[in-house]
Each structure stands twice: as C-alpha cells, then as structure tokens.
C-alpha cells in the first residue's frame, strides 16, 4: 500500500457572494414595492433585473446600494449588513442611479472631484484618476465643460465615470442606457463589457431585452415586486418560449376575424394591439400554414425568440410600450 495522498485542502475558491438576499421586502407605507425576493450574485458575475415600470427594480437596487433600509428579510452586500455598515459597503461600490443627479452648475471635472473626495481620495491621485476615467468614457475633451452643456448620452457616460472613481468591486447600474440613441448605447455596452472583463461584478436593471442579452450572465425577471423567472438569457428563452416567433400584421380592423382562423396554430398565440405573435419551433412551416388557411397578413416577420417574448409569456404584458 502506498501512503495516502495528502487530504486536499477544503475548497476555498467558493467565495462569498457579492449580494445575498433572502425574502427581501421593501414597503413604502402600505405599498409593497418589493415583495420578498431571493437573489444571489457571485463575484465577477453580470446580473440583471429585468422588468416593466414599477416592478421594483430601483427599490431593490437602492437596498443593495445601502441607501434604502430593508423592510423585511435579510440582505448581505459584500459580506456585510447594509443597515450596520452602509458607509463601508458604499466605499467599495460604484453606483449609476436611474437619475443622473449631476451638479448641472459645475464642470465635468468638478463633479468628479467632489464625488471622489467623498471617498476621501487624495486630490492629486484623484486628478489622475479623473483623466483616466474621462478617457475611458471618451469625454476627455469635455473635462472643463459645464454639465448643463452635455448631451444625454454624454451625461450618462459621465455618470459611469463617476461610479468608477473609487475603483469599485461591484457596480450597480440602474437603467444605464435608457433614453440613449443606439450608437450611444453600444458605446456604453462596450465600456461595461470591458469592466466585466476586468473582473468587476455588474448588477444592472433594464427594460431592454437586447441589453440584458448582451450584458447579463444571469438575470431575473421581476413583475409586481416579485421574481417571476430566473436564469441565463438562453435558459429563460428555452424554458419559457419556443424557438421562433412569427409576427403577423393584419390590415386595420381585420385582426379580430383573422384570430379565429389562427386558432390552434403554433405553441401559443399572443395578441398585441397591432399584431399577433405565434410561438413555434418552426417558423417557416407555421407561416406556410397561415397562408394555407387562406389568411393574407399585410406583413410577416419570422424571428428567433427573445427575452421580450419570455416576458410577454410570463406576465401577459410587454416590457416597453
């Protein structure tokens, strides 16, 4: 017999989650904004909260950001209790709030300086850091410009730079790209992707499916303060909808009549005011059958299922109107 191999050391790589929430509740008076959710976010992960207006995304983010007290349940952020260690937690977080909350009267640089000083960063190091960050978000030439004079997309980029001033371990982004044009959104996604590559944990909320699919390793769908589904974008699509969707548009006033004749088609039919969505595993044959049944839609689109379809299926409502 050989001597037994040394007993392997217990696995220490299973690090503590960045966020751990159990039965998390937020109430404002009688109104329940977050109705008991469980969330766990691992280090380095990109995690998303997806949901329509009023789902409770921002309320959840503010609790995780240690700026809003938890009504019920337990919450640990970076292994600490936000109620007791708020300032210590916030010192290691970056936050992009839903509203920019920039000081419009001051310059880009001064906004960052004041914010950076709140973290007690030395002035000299701060000035260097501001240079790097403005480079990172492509605002270097706007350093001395008043915030007032920036476009919406530039302000959003500035807020991202602001959130990174303390070199945070985790960044909370509440609707980082809402209101931006497609090009500005892609610039932001690229920056966020680079952060993720550096190992920064990202938590974001969004109404946009493509954003969630681009940025999130894992996400939860929220509705009415509850989590209604959870998984990777792929998993959610696989679990909650079929592979493809056929969109049918009918001339005004003809959709009603057409619906009866679509009965039984595909796996499921969702009716929107302006079109009908047929979920199916084979778009082409479904479309052929539509025509076969003598229907003549004014327009048809066959596409892969998206998170939008997942959301529609789960809640019967659309995310963005």
């Amino acid at each position: 017999m050989t001597t037994p191999a040394a007993v392997p050391a217990p696995d220490r790589t299973a690090t503590e989650p960045m966020v751990l929430a159990r039965g998390l509740v937020k109430r404002f008076g009688d109104f329940t904004a977050v109705a008991g959710i469980d969330v766990e976010v691992a280090p380095g992960e990109s995690f998303g909260f997806l949901g329509p207006n009023g789902a409770g995304k921002s309320s959840t983010m503010r609790m995780i950001g240690a700026v809003s007290p938890v009504t019920e349940g337990t919450l640990r952020v970076l292994g600490r209790d936000p109620a007791a260690d708020g300032p210590e937690i916030r010192a290691r977080l970056g936050v992009v709030p839903q509203e920019d909350a920039l000081d419009q009267e001051l310059s880009v640089e001064e906004n960052l300086l004041i914010y950076g000083r709140y973290f007690d960063l030395p002035r000299k190091a701060l000035r260097e850091r501001i240079g790097e960050l403005l480079d990172f978000v492509q605002l270097t030439d706007r350093r001395k410009a008043k915030v007032e004079s920036l476009s919406g997309g530039m302000k959003r980029r500035l807020v991202i730079a602001r959130s990174l001033i303390n070199d945070p371990e985790m960044v909370l982004l509440d609707e980082p790209t809402t209101g931006l044009d497609p090009q500005a959104r892609h610039v932001l996604w690229d920056r966020l992707y680079r952060l993720k590559q550096r190992g920064v944990t990202l938590i974001l909320t969004t109404h946009y499916m493509d954003e969630a699919e681009q940025l999130c390793d894992r996400l939860v769908v929220m509705d009415g303060g509850r989590i209604v589904a959870e998984g990777s974008p792929r998993q959610l699509i696989e679990t909650h909808t079929s592979r493809e969707v056929v969109e049918l548009r009918f001339p005004v006033g003809e959709q009603e009549a057409a619906l009866e004749r679509l009965d039984g088609l595909g796996e499921r039919i969702e009716v929107l005011p302006d079109r009908v969505l047929v979920s199916t595993d084979d778009g082409d044959s479904t479309l052929a059958e539509v025509i076969g049944r003598g229907l003549t839609p004014a327009g048809t689109v066959t596409r892969r299922s998206t998170l939008e379809d997942v959301f529609l299926h789960l809640t019967g409502r659309r995310l963005v109107d």
Binding site: V67, R90, P97, Q104, E105, Y115, F119, D120, R162
Partner: protein
C-alpha cells in the same frame, strides 16, 4: 459624530460656491450695510434728537449696529438652511449622488451647517469692518460681538434645515421667510428695544433665540450688561443650536434614508 466625510461635504460646498458666490454674497453683505446707512444714519438722526431713554443714553447708530449684526446673521443662516437644502434634495438632487458614497444623511446635514456657519462668519466680519468705518462700533468689540451673532446664524440654519428637509415643495420656503424670518428681523430687539412692545408681547422675547443673540451681541459691542443674566442668553443661543443640529440630522435621515 464628526467624521472626515463631513468635512468632505463642506469641501464640496466650497467648490460649488466658487461658481455661485456672486448672487448670494452680494445680498449677505450689502443688505445689512444698506440697513445700517438708512436706519442707523438716516432714522438715527431723528431718534437721537428725541433723546430716547430706552436706548440707555447711547446714540442710535451704535445701539443698532450690533443688533443688526445678529439679525443679519440670523437671516443668512436661515437662507442657508433652506435654499441649499431644497436644492440638494430636489432641484439639483446632489444629495442623491452624495449618498451613494460613504456620505450619510448626517454628514449632509452637518456639512451644510458647518459651511453656512463659515459663510455667516465671513459676512459678520465684513459687516464689522463696515460698521467700524461708519463709526458704529470699535473693531475689537465688534469682533467679540460676531461670536453670538454667528452662533445664532448657525442655530437658525440648523433649525430651518430640519424643517426644509421635510418639505415636498418649495412653497414652504417663502412662508418661512414671510412669517418667521422677516418678523423676527423686525421685532426681536434689532431696531428698537422689545421693552417698547406691549408687555404681553415683550415677555415673549424670552422664547425667541434671535433676541438672546441680539442681546449678547449688543452687550459685547457696547461693553455693558445684557437685559437678562448672561448665562440665560448664552444657554438659549447654544441650546437652540444644539437642539437645531440634532433635529436637522434626524430630519435629513428621515427624508433621505428611505
């Protein structure tokens, strides 16, 4: 309570001030000077010819100047307890941003208070220089008189910021000006002794922190005893500040930590 982060908030105010000082500084410094010329010199020439015994044999300008020092400081403090606070909460929402850092609501409340106190001190100092030039006080005594005046300013800033932090709209600010600041400015012993008021009203002065501040400033500037015991006047001014600061911290916390 005091943390270095509180000072960082003060620093933020200072940085912001570099861009906005023109408007506020003008009114904080020029207004009392206008009052001093119009009331002290203009009105004073009439008062002095009437030889009013109520002033204790002192010329009106010298009697008015320290009272105005305290009353103007109160006005500055009250202003800094309202506009910057509603701006931070509502107009600019700068508090929202700050709260995502190690800053706590208490740091915002105390940071605003410290900054307002510093501003009131500078305004008081400038006022004393001007009053000295008018021959209304001696510079040394005037400096002493700024201490209770600035403490009064701080007390009002704290107390009014506690109220402002609970406001949903800015309409309350005008009400504070109209129904609190202006009446106090006029009736708390600044322009005439409260003893000139009907007895029932005059007794009420003991509950008015500004009156105690005015009494202390005037006593120090003129080098004579105040109306009441020193200890009572000091206790009210200091007590008002301490209670005001505690209320302000609690109010900020309640409004901002939701």
């Amino acid at each position: 309570m005091a943390r270095s982060v509180t000072l960082r908030v003060v620093e933020g105010h200072a940085r912001h001030y570099r861009h906005t000082w023109r408007g506020t500084t003008f009114s904080a410094i020029v207004t009392p000077v206008l009052f001093l010329s119009a009331m002290g010199l203009g009105l004073g020439s009439m008062v002095d010819s009437g030889r009013s015994a109520a002033l204790g044999g002192i010329d009106y300008l010298s009697w008015l100047a320290p009272g105005l020092l305290a009353a103007a400081a109160m006005q500055n403090g009250a202003g800094d307890g309202s506009f910057p606070v509603i701006a931070g909460i509502k107009w600019l929402k700068t508090y929202d941003a700050a709260l995502n850092t190690p800053v706590r609501p208490a740091d915002l409340a105390l940071g605003n208070l410290v900054w307002a106190t510093a501003r009131a001190a500078v305004a008081a100092l400038v006022y004393v220089l001007v009053a000295t030039a008018f021959g209304a006080m001696s510079f040394g005594r005037g400096l002493l008189a700024t201490v209770p005046a600035v403490a009064t300013a701080a007390g009002f800033c704290a107390a009014i910021s506690a109220v402002t932090a609970q406001m949903r709209t800015e309409q309350g600010l005008a009400a504070i000006q109209r129904f609190l600041v202006v009446p106090l400015f006029l009736f708390a012993g600044t322009f005439f002794p409260v003893s000139q008021l009907p007895d029932a009203v005059a007794g009420f002065a003991w509950f008015v922190p500004l009156w105690h501040g005015v009494e202390l400033s005037r006593a120090l500037a003129l080098g004579r005893a105040p109306t009441g015991p020193w200890a009572v006047h000091v206790a009210v001014v200091v007590g008002f500040l301490v209670v005001g600061a505690a209320l302000s911290v609690a109010s900020f916390h309640r409004r901002l930590h939701r």
